[in-house]
């Protein structure tokens, strides 16, 4: 995993959570959480359903006001950023996207160039090039002219990820980017994301339910228990059988074979 945590020289934080407290109704999801995210890091946010992964992503993106504490981007409070400048600094891929009308895949991806548009808001060749590059990075060039309503769930999800990449913001917040994807495409997307952070000082924070992929591809992990407690650190130190069992409320065991590792549920009637 050494090769992934390169961060050439730069140790200026890209995102900083200060004494962050998140609440939904009466429930406290996260209490007094302070952490700094650096370029070159790929963070997986994991936790059970309703633990606050989406709430955390939206708060980190500056779209939700936390119940306490604050978020800082480049040392400045996120709500003090002008919205267009912030949109060039961080991109968010929401969990759901709406498609009421048909539209070409390329046009959907181009929408994320909005913060880069000037004048009357028409794209320039550079914007189109960025969109094609983002589609190519995820192997989606052949879909560019397709109608977005004709895509499968997994294809739509990869288009949304391409759109987020096309925004060319150095901080990428992805809410469940691997949902609906098959094995092959989960790994292809994660590989593309790792490549995306390799040569430029970029940070990715994504939420994910597959702890094994997170252990393999993420450099760090943030495990939410959903009761105010969060564990953060290197992916393999956080996504352990002990901590994950506690967070998910179900016993998990780590099995090893030929150098491969997997966290699996300790089903009661499993053959030993």
């Amino acid at each position: 995993m050494k090769s992934l945590t390169n961060a050439p020289g730069a140790r200026t934080p890209s995102l900083c959570a200060q004494h962050l407290t998140l609440r939904v109704g009466e429930r406290t999801l996260l209490e007094d959480f302070t952490h700094t995210f650096y370029p070159g890091e790929i963070w997986c946010v994991a936790g059970p359903n309703g633990a606050g992964k989406t709430t955390l992503m939206m708060t980190l993106a500056g779209l939700l006001r936390p119940a306490g504490g604050q978020i800082e981007v480049d040392g400045e409070r996120i709500d003090a950023w002008p919205s267009a400048a912030l949109a060039r600094r961080r991109a968010l891929m929401p969990q759901t996207s709406h498609d009421a009308f048909d539209a070409r895949v390329l046009d959907i991806v181009l929408l994320n160039r909005f913060p880069h548009l000037t004048g009357w808001g028409w794209e320039r060749p550079a914007d189109r090039a960025a969109a094609h590059a983002a589609l190519a990075a995820l192997g989606l060039e052949s879909l560019a002219a397709r109608d977005v309503l004709s895509l499968s769930g997994g294809e739509r999800q990869r288009v949304a990820l391409a759109a987020a990449l096309c925004q060319e913001a150095p901080l990428l917040l992805l809410d469940e980017p691997l949902a609906f994807l098959d094995w092959h495409h989960q790994i292809a997307c994660l590989t593309a994301l790792v490549d995306w952070t390799r040569f430029l000082p970029r940070t990715i924070i994504f939420s994910c339910h597959d702890l094994n992929l997170a252990r393999r591809f993420a450099t760090h992990a943030l495990l939410l228990e959903g009761n105010g407690i969060a564990h953060s650190g290197a992916a393999r130190d956080v996504l352990t059988p002990a901590l994950a069992s506690r967070a998910f409320g179900y016993p998990l065991v780590l099995i090893e074979q030929n150098g491969y590792e997997a966290l699996v549920p300790a089903l009661p009637d499993a053959p030993r």
Binding site: L63, A84, A87, A91, F101, D102, L111, F114, W122
Partner: protein, 339 residues
């Protein structure tokens, strides 16, 4: 969609608007050549003599009868199509149209009540506008939380339901008025409800409303594209989703109100024109908002030309023509497409 392609679409529609405008000035019970008709707009013959007399008559017809009617037709159609395009984005729903949120219902209920009371035409107009504004304020007041609430709940279904229910309430009030109306008032009420440009003597407020509405909407058209993809994405891209929603709701509603006040509830244009353009040209709001406006104006101006020439000297309400011609054309466009 590129800027060049959009400009091409707009030029074509603008050309169509000029052609239909010239035809609307030239055609009618007294035939005037299009050139003469356009000259009559700028040139007021003041000399005596029989030739000048005839020219003066033609000029008078063009200036006092045909010009206001053509301008009213264009403005109302443009306002309705603009409102329809905006509301389809706001509600993220292809079935949205200018009247769905109750604007026309309020206007119609008040106008019909005024017609029932036998008010002068300007009082009917004033009542219609007051009803529209009241209805807008009512829906805005009832659904205000839906405008400000962001993710994860989406604003649209509740706003839409509020509007539909308010519209239904107005519908009942209109039916009540019609049930109470004496027979000699019914014809005027029916014409008003179908949409009729016959009484549109003063089209200029609608034209001003159109220009203002365009000035407010066209600069935010790129943001509308983003808003269609949901609040979370829009906000993350720097689009102020709640404020933008409020803005397009107010503009679309006032546009519909201005049109209804001028010409009654002309149906179908606001739903069909944006859809027809979307089917042919795609759903880029930067192109679609101005293009819908132009195409809606052309559609109603042309429909009114038909309405007053097909069975001349009798006249049809323009709303009948927009629907009779629009329904088959739209169904054909919709169904010929194969994915």
């Amino acid at each position: 969609m590129t800027a060049r392609r959009a400009a091409f679409v707009w030029s074509l529609l603008l050309l169509a608007a000029f052609v239909v405008f010239a035809a609307a000035l030239a055609l009618g019970s007294v035939a005037i050549s299009p050139w003469q008709a356009i000259l009559a707009l700028v040139h007021v013959p003041a000399h005596g003599g029989s030739g000048a007399q005839a020219g003066d008559l033609a000029g008078e017809i063009v200036r006092t009868l045909r010009l206001p009617r053509a301008v009213a037709g264009f403005s109302c159609g443009a306002l309705l199509a603009l409102a329809g395009a905006l509301l389809q984005v706001l509600l993220r729903n292809p079935l949205a149209e200018p009247y769905v949120l109750g604007v026309s219902g309020g206007a119609a209920a008040f106008a019909v009540a005024a017609l029932l009371a036998g008010c002068a035409w300007w009082l009917v107009d004033a009542a219609a506008f007051a009803g529209a504004v009241l209805s807008i304020a009512l829906v805005l007041g009832l659904a205000r939380r839906e405008f400000w609430r962001g993710e994860p709940q989406e604003a649209s279904p509740r706003l839409l339901l509020t509007g539909v229910v308010v519209a239904t309430g107005w519908g009942a009030a209109i039916t009540l008025c019609i049930a109470l109306a004496p027979d000699d008032r019914l014809r005027g009420i029916v014409f008003w409800l179908t949409g009729d440009l016959n009484g549109a003597a003063n089209p200029w407020p609608a034209l001003v409303a159109l220009i203002v509405a365009l000035a407010v909407c066209v600069p935010v058209a790129p943001q509308l594209n983003v808003l269609l993809r949901g609040d979370a994405l829009a906000s993350s891209l720097g689009v102020p989703a709640s404020r933008l929603r409020l803005r397009i709701y107010v503009v679309a509603s006032l546009a519909a109100a201005a049109s209804v006040t001028t010409a009654g509830t002309i149906g179908f244009v606001g739903l069909v024109v944006p859809h027809a353009l979307r089917l042919v040209l795609g759903n880029d709001q930067r192109m679609l908002v101005p293009a819908s406006t132009l195409a809606g104006g052309v559609a109603v101006m042309a429909a009114d030309l038909l309405a007053r020439t097909v069975i001349a000297p009798a006249q049809l309400p323009v709303g009948v023509v927009t629907a009779l011609v629009g329904v088959p054309v739209f169904l054909w466009m919709l169904l010929r497409r194969r994915r």
